[in-house]
């Protein structure tokens, strides 16, 4: 199907794209897209896919229905998810929680709406190519192909204007024009820092010609964030194309993708995409006859969060410990192998092709004046619709959590939302109407970060959350500078004291002081932002800290040292709790009152759930 002969020039690419368009127009009228990202596969999508495929064969509908295996659609709360798209009407309907046994009806009815399957939504997002006014908070640029095309087919990518931006750039533009377009577009680094991408490129472009490098930071280590993985699994060519464009802009011939080893599916799809692009002459020497050479190699990370910091990442690629160093010199001047290097995050790169195709002016219309474009968030925690969402910058937290996310699950009350992962902070109800951008979140003591957004309800203890993130930083500190290595350890000890009811008011004051010191004196971004979870909760949820300190009470009932389970007089001795206890710490003869051994109890609450007589109290 796909041409293996290298494309010799821009026209060859356009001809191919046009052919694909015609082929598609005369193809099956109905497309069923099946979400096959890591999470989809984990939620047992493969049997659904196989059932759909075998039904098409047995009902002989190969010419009417085409199945496309895509990356994540972002509807993680209802996996397995499929999208039934009607090519004539251009309408699509998303179905969730699909079971293999529903395949016969689905295939028989084709695009009809009544399948007895959960209809999730029709306007889940507004695709990048339409300017139509679709009623949805989501506008997709970064995720424009994710969940829509087959990531393992370069033809699918070329068919959606893939590599058109690269072709245009290398055959008609000068490197400084490309950089200028990026500066005009005002795209800011989506890895968390928010540094203008075009300016970064310009630094590297201004360095004397010679060996230069482009690095894609795909070491997504923030717990609860999986945007980059979704893009790499769902649209790998977009990242490769953008890397080639940035290589052209700064004068680099080599790109490196530094990817987490924990993402095997993303690695597999990237490797395949690189090979396909090479076969088609879209990577390698003399790309599309322009004289521009560019190739990409993969390097695996090995589970070090600090390697998200660019100098640490560069060390890791060089085969060293991933320790950050003092900047300047910035990598744009002295980076990989001491050569000018730009490091861009996956999501940042995924914006670039659209900007090059549609221009800086178009991009500036989306989002806010200071932060044009969109942001992808991994919405998780106690929200009804856990998933991957992409909204214009300046959208309020309320629109994301209560609009796209449809509010808090299990009828609980909203308490806080955490953004920015271990470097960010928690925001309260009062902050929900703040339009999101880098500055507004920083002003509230949090951070944009890479895009993890964790929603918390009244059952979550904010002191415990601060402790959790600090444990993460503690594990991930590279140990190079003292404030981060020792300071965070001391902070953690103080938080453990608070959580176990052994702290006093002086501890709280010390917490704040030490946090400020660590922020001011750490070497790299990891250390400088590590106290943020502590500072933000201390400021926003001071009452909870006071409850732990003064009353030795954890209102949310999370801090296990301050919680105990007891069996009350309603116990009839049914032994159900004792049989369910995972540590067998409940004793008592049948038909007699049972007792919990407080020493051995792990406070898991299984006994309380198991008891049919409300005989287990939690205090």
């Amino acid at each position: 199907m796909s041409t293996i002969t290298p494309l010799k020039d821009r026209d060859a690419l356009s001809t191919w794209a046009a052919d694909l368009k015609t082929e598609r127009a005369s193809g099956a009228p109905v497309v069923i897209r099946v979400s096959m990202g890591t999470c989809g596969i984990a939620a047992k999508t493969t049997p659904v896919l196989e059932a759909l495929q075998s039904e098409i064969r047995s009902q002989q509908k190969e010419s009417q229905i085409e199945i496309v295996q895509t990356g994540c659609m972002g509807l993680c709360h209802s996996e397995p998810t499929i999208e039934v798209y009607d090519r004539q009407t251009q309408q699509s309907i998303f179905y969730g929680n699909v079971k293999p046994e529903q395949a016969p009806t689905l295939i028989r009815e084709e695009s009809s709406q009544a399948f007895g399957v959960d209809v999730l939504t029709q306007n889940w997002y507004r695709p990048e190519e339409t300017d139509a006014d679709v009623e949805t908070a989501q506008a997709r640029i970064v995720l424009r192909n994710t969940g829509r095309i087959d990531p393992e087919s370069i033809a699918d990518y070329v068919g959606t204007q893939g590599y058109a931006a690269l072709a245009n750039v290398v055959t008609t533009m000068q490197p400084d024009e490309v950089t200028q377009t990026m500066i005009d577009a005002g795209l800011r680094g989506r890895g968390g820092g928010g540094f203008p991408t075009g300016v970064k490129w310009q630094f590297a472009a201004k360095q004397p010609a010679g060996e230069k490098y482009v690095i894609c930071n795909a070491d997504e280590g923030d717990p609860g964030a999986f945007m980059d993985r979704a893009v790499l699994e769902g649209d790998p060519h977009a990242v490769l194309e953008a890397m080639a464009i940035s290589g052209f802009a700064i004068g680099a011939a080599q790109g490196v993708v530094y990817i987490r080893a924990e993402y095997p599916l993303a690695i597999e799809r990237l490797e395949l995409a690189i090979q396909q692009a090479r076969d088609c002459g879209l990577l390698g020497t003399n790309i599309l006859g322009s004289g521009f050479d560019f190739d990409i190699e993969l390097k695996y990370g090995a589970g070090a969060f600090v390697c998200g910091e660019e100098t640490a990442l560069i060390h890791s690629i060089e085969g060293l410990r991933g320790e950050p160093i003092f900047k300047p010199p910035f990598p744009a001047v002295e980076g990989l192998w001491e050569k000018p290097t730009i490091v861009n995050n996956v999501e940042t790169l995924a914006n670039i092709c659209a900007i090059m195709r549609r221009g800086a002016k178009w991009f500036r219309q989306i989002g806010t004046e200071k932060c044009p474009g969109t942001k992808v968030f991994a919405l998780a925690g106690k929200v009804k619709r856990v998933g991957l969402v992409e909204v214009p910058m300046g959208t309020t937290l309320r629109d994301i959590i209560f609009g796209v996310g449809q509010g808090i699950a299990n009828d609980r009350a909203f308490k806080a939302v955490q953004t920015g992962g271990p470097s960010g902070g928690c925001l309260k109800t009062e902050d929900l109407d703040t339009p999101i951008d880098y500055e507004s979140l920083r002003a509230l003591g949090s951070m944009m970060g890479s895009g993890g957004m964790i929603v918390m309800d009244e059952d979550d203890c904010m002191v415990n959350i601060a402790k959790y993130f600090l444990e993460f930083t503690l594990d991930e500190s590279c140990g190079r500078c003292t404030p981060c290595r020792i300071g965070n350890k001391r902070l953690h000890e103080m938080l453990v004291k608070v959580c176990s009811g052994r702290a006093d008011m002086r501890t709280l004051e010390k917490l704040r002081q030490l946090s400020d010191t660590i922020k001011d004196t750490s070497l790299c971004g990891l250390g400088q932002t590590s106290p943020n979870p502590v500072l933000s909760t201390l400021r926003q949820f001071r009452r909870e800290y006071l409850d732990h300190v003064m009353n030795h009470k954890c209102t949310a009932g999370v801090c296990s040292a301050l919680v105990r389970y007891d069996i009350n007089e309603r116990c009839v001795g049914c032994t159900l709790c004792a049989r369910n206890c995972p540590v067998s710490c409940i004793t008592g003869a049948p038909k007699e009152h049972h007792e919990i051994d407080q020493e051995r109890c792990i406070k898991c609450g299984v006994c309380q759930q198991a008891c049919k007589f409300h005989a287990v109290d939690k205090h």
Partner: protein, 158 residues
């Protein structure tokens, strides 16, 4: 401005080292961990001192220096799982198997690991047994899950 000590620790420009991480990945993929003998062989092959190899090995949490248990239980401690009873699940498994995180049972049957976010935040709390993901795991489900993955016999030594 910078003292000699804080001067960037850039490499001596030995590009042969850059293959080190990928080589270690290959060893771990083959053996399940990086055996000392193999690390020594790698040191001779690449001409990189053994101390440098161990410096790198011990820095990255992904690399293991000891043979892991034959069935790996990975408890997710990403933020979403942490908020939704992940820590309780971990404690329950620890109590059940009598081992701590990062340890193997004495018979080498099970390996217990804590991992940072498997990206399945809608399924919290998540337990992964080898490659199979169990979602919304309750401590009471554990014996049943372990029964589905009975201990296997150790591999014959060569």
């Amino acid at each position: 401005m910078l003292s000699a000590d804080t001067k960037p620790r850039r490499t001596s420009g030995v590009r042969a080292d850059s293959g080190l991480l990928n080589a270690l990945h290959a060893l771990q993929a083959e053996h399940g961990y990086v055996p000392r003998q193999e690390a020594m062989a790698l040191s001779r092959r690449l001409g990189v001192p053994l101390a440098r190899i161990f410096e790198v090995l011990t820095f990255y949490s992904y690399f293991r220096l000891e043979e892991p248990g034959r069935i790996t239980l990975s408890v997710c401690d990403g933020t979403s799982c942490h908020l939704q009873e992940g820590p309780v699940l971990l404690k329950a498994i620890q109590a059940l198997l009598g081992i701590g995180a990062g340890e193997a049972t004495p018979d080498g049957a099970y390996q217990l690991n804590v991992v940072r976010c498997l990206g399945c935040c809608s399924c919290s709390p998540v337990l992964m047994v080898d490659d199979k993901i169990y979602s919304q795991v309750d401590p009471a489900d554990l014996p049943g899950i372990l029964k589905k993955h009975p201990p296997t016999a150790p591999k014959e030594a060569n």
